[in-house]
């Protein structure tokens, strides 16, 4: 009786597909690498420094928080590293260290941990942190100022800011002429000014497609986001071509691609049902162009995503009727 074999006894199911949060996180990091590496190639060690400090400080904030709050260490799931990476991708290639450390604190602690850690955050942590930093120290996030000491061989002006400025002074500038000075290849190949991980359009597209194929992000959100941006920009351009840039320009500049594949798709703050995902993505895309074209800021992805993060719980109420549900 007492030397019986001891078997594992538990409830069904007895199989698992082997997926794990850390695996998702590391795949997101992998997909983000092409865009980041190209920026490091252009801007050198300062950009590498920003990325390294952002990722490491984000992880340390999480470790610190779990230690202080005496909860289980969650640093191994890679979620903090992803937040750090996303935050770095939003930043200009040159940024002061304290800004980064403060930003990752806002992202990891204020954006995620105080809601109970992974899965509890109502907003995308990196986007929230960037918004707070942007409101607080706007000057340090000015792309043109940050790279003033570089000689890069392409137009060192943030395209969206330039387009907005031109649109507001149609007596001095011609928007279409300014836009045509950025050619498509330059925008796709990262030869534009912007966030560390936001300029290399082709790399972001590849990374995004990889994540979609792996089932880590949802194509519904990405595609509807891009469609929302493209369609709204098209309407604006049709209304007044002298003031507003076209869809392709809006799609390939600023944070559009980064937002579509990496920011809006963050699990916790995005819906899970089919129709809500489409509405969520499209709403973020439409808001982005509205902010860019008629708002005060040249870039609208950040606030657009924060706003749709807010409506996410409501959107997910649109769901199919469960089997056998009477009412």
């Amino acid at each position: 009786m007492y030397n019986r074999k001891k078997f594992i006894v538990s409830h069904a199911p007895f199989w698992h597909d082997g997926s794990w949060i850390a695996q998702r996180s590391y795949n997101i990091l992998l997909a983000a690498l092409p865009a980041v590496i190209l920026s490091i190639y252009y801007y050198g060690l300062p950009a590498l420094g920003v990325v390294a400090l952002s990722v490491s400080s984000a992880m340390l904030w999480e470790l610190g928080f779990t230690r202080v709050s005496k909860t289980a260490d969650t640093i191994g799931d890679g979620s903090a590293a992803v937040i750090g990476m996303m935050f770095a991708m939003l930043l200009p290639p040159v940024a002061p260290w304290w800004l980064i450390v403060a930003g990752t604190f806002l992202a990891v602690v204020i954006g995620k941990m105080i809601y109970g850690g992974i899965g509890g955050n109502p907003f995308n942590p990196a986007v929230l942190a960037y918004a707070i930093i942007g409101v607080s120290w706007w000057d340090y996030l000015n792309f043109d100022a940050a790279i003033v000491n570089y000689d890069l061989g392409f137009i060192t002006m943030f395209p969206l800011a330039l387009a907005k400025h031109a649109g507001m002074h149609t007596d001095l500038f011609n928007v279409q002429q300014i836009i045509s000075s950025y050619n498509l290849t330059d925008l796709l190949m990262g030869r534009q000014v912007g966030g560390i991980g936001a300029t290399f359009g082709l790399g972001l597209l590849l990374g995004g497609i990889y994540l979609i194929i792996r089932g880590i992000i949802r194509w519904e959100i990405s595609i509807s986001f891009l469609a929302g941006v493209g369609f709204t920009a098209l309407l604006f351009q049709a209304a007044d071509p002298g003031r507003y840039a076209g869809p392709l320009f809006h799609l390939l500049t600023g944070y559009t691609l980064l937002g579509a594949f990496f920011l809006a798709t963050e699990d916790s703050s995005s819906p899970v049902n089919f129709l809500p995902m489409l509405i969520y993505g499209a709403a973020a895309g439409i808001l982005t162009v509205l902010i860019r074209n008629i708002g005060a800021y040249p870039e609208g992805v950040i606030f657009a995503i924060l706003v749709v993060n807010l409506i996410n719980p409501l959107l997910d109420k649109i769901r199919p009727k469960a089997l056998g549900k009477v009412t």
Binding site: A12, F14, G18, G119, I213, S268, A322, L323, K325
Partner: protein
């Protein structure tokens, strides 16, 4: 079993088909000890019809307790050695009857007598623990609108019903006409995979059975999904198909009924699939009550600590504690899992990735549901997040990247709600008489008495 590289596509499981395989079942010899479970808690003081040392015959109906008509059918001829209490799944209390078999069978004549004297309807009182099992409500004489014979298991890997459907066509024909006479059911439907339709054609022809094809993708053989997809009738979430008069029966049970009325002896040999660690399958025929260890020995299976013995399939089965757990009339398969293949669950929170929502065949909002279940808000889970719509396929737990035991939470939630409901029903008259404030007073009084008692002790 592992998630594919291309994760956009959802995992698909196919039921195994047996049509092209010639299977020779392995027959297990009569064991040295047989254990039968009577669905009644063990009570030492209740008068018994049989006692330790009494002899039972093969096929004898054992109505153990004098004040209850719960019974089991003895699967061997032998001497009762002991009675035990046994706790089944979810604390179901059973009486275990241990019998030491003799080598030669002596068959009980009660069924023959009943059939000859009272006609075929008399078989009703003997069929409950026939190999494959019969729904008790159906035998009790409830209205049977439709009988659905499952030619395929609800869960994966097991091929018992398919094997029986394929190899016992004539017994099934007799079984169908017998069960029609016994229960008065007119509509009999047989749910089969496409691969068996041809071979089962003979069943439909002779005795008026409608053959229906079910998809070969898990979990389409689930009763509620068969109801929706094959019968075209959605069962309300708070009702069971049985309450609508629709009963699901294993093909094996129908074949056993056929054998019983033909030979006028109750069949006591159970067919089951044994799935080894390397996922190879063997079909086994063993007496009901045979300890698993006898089967493992015959098939050369060795188990080690931390392995897992699963009764039923990998998605919805149950596990047992000991190697000598007996074969039950409803045991369709036994699966052995190596300790290295046992996936662990975690206490990570839901990250809202939506995998479970997208794979759920019943469209349950699992991501919200699991949050409420984790917080033990079972009633909200049931009222607002469709807890009772769950068809218990287990796919949500399978795909969860947080490794949350989602399905386990769902079962716990349902169990707790059932328990609360039963308690409320039991207490209902008292609460009507006693308004709530009075109950508070009693508790206060009790605390006072307890405090006083403590003081006295001090």
């Amino acid at each position: 079993m592992k998630r594919s590289f291309f994760g956009l596509q959802q995992p698909r499981f196919k039921y195994d088909a047996v049509s092209n395989v010639n299977i020779e079942p392995v027959r297990i010899a009569v064991p040295e000890k047989v254990t039968l479970f009577l669905n009644r808690p063990f009570e030492g003081k209740t008068p018994r019809t049989l006692n330790v040392g009494d002899r039972v015959k093969t096929g004898q109906k054992i109505t153990l307790y004098e004040d209850s008509d719960a019974y089991v059918i003895s699967s061997v001829t032998g001497v009762i050695r002991s009675f035990d209490s046994f706790l089944g799944d979810y604390g179901q209390a059973l009486t275990a009857i241990n019998i030491e078999p003799e080598q030669t069978d002596e068959f009980d004549e009660a069924l023959r007598k009943a059939l000859e004297e009272d006609g075929i309807a008399a078989a009703r009182d003997y069929l409950l623990s026939i190999p494959g099992g019969m729904p008790p409500e159906m035998l009790k004489g409830g209205h049977v609108d439709t009988l659905v014979i499952c030619g395929i298991e609800q869960d994966l890997l097991s091929i018992t019903n398919q094997f029986v459907t394929k190899s016992k066509v004539s017994a099934m024909n007799k079984g169908v006409s017998a069960i029609k006479k016994i229960t008065g059911v007119h509509k009999v439907v047989m749910a089969l995979p496409q691969s068996l339709i041809q071979e089962a054609g003979a069943i439909g022809g002779a005795s008026g059975v409608e053959l229906r094809v079910i998809e070969d993708e898990y979990p389409s053989a689930n009763p509620r999904l068969i109801m929706r997809d094959v019968m075209g009738q959605v069962v309300p979430a708070d009702k069971r198909p049985e309450e609508l008069g629709i009963f699901f029966v294993n093909a094996e049970a129908i074949a056993a009924v056929g054998e019983a009325v033909e030979k006028k002896i109750l069949p006591v040999t159970k067919t089951l699939t044994v799935i080894k660690k390397d996922m190879t399958k063997t079909v086994v025929e063993a007496r009901i009550g045979t300890p698993f260890s006898d089967i493992f020995q015959a098939l050369d299976i060795t188990l080690f600590d931390r392995d897992r013995i699963i009764v039923g399939g990998p998605m919805s089965g149950t596990t047992v504690y000991a190697e000598d757990h007996p074969v039950d009339p409803r045991t369709l398969s036994i699966m052995i899992q190596d300790s290295s293949d046992v996936p662990l669950v975690s206490d990570y929170p839901c990250i809202n990735c939506g995998e479970c929502v997208r794979i759920c065949p019943a469209d349950v909002p699992v991501n919200m549901l699991v949050r409420f279940l984790e917080a033990r808000q079972y009633e909200t889970a049931a009222d607002e997040y469709d807890l009772h719509s769950c068809i218990e396929c287990g796919l949500c737990s399978f795909v969860c990247p947080s490794k949350i035991p989602v399905f386990q939470y769902i079962r716990l939630g349902k169990y707790e709600l059932d328990r609360i409901r039963l308690e409320e029903e039991a207490e209902a008259p008292e609460t009507l008489e006693e308004p709530a404030p009075e109950t508070e007073e009693t508790t206060e009084e009790e605390t006072k008495t307890a405090a006083a008692a403590k003081e006295e002790e001090a």
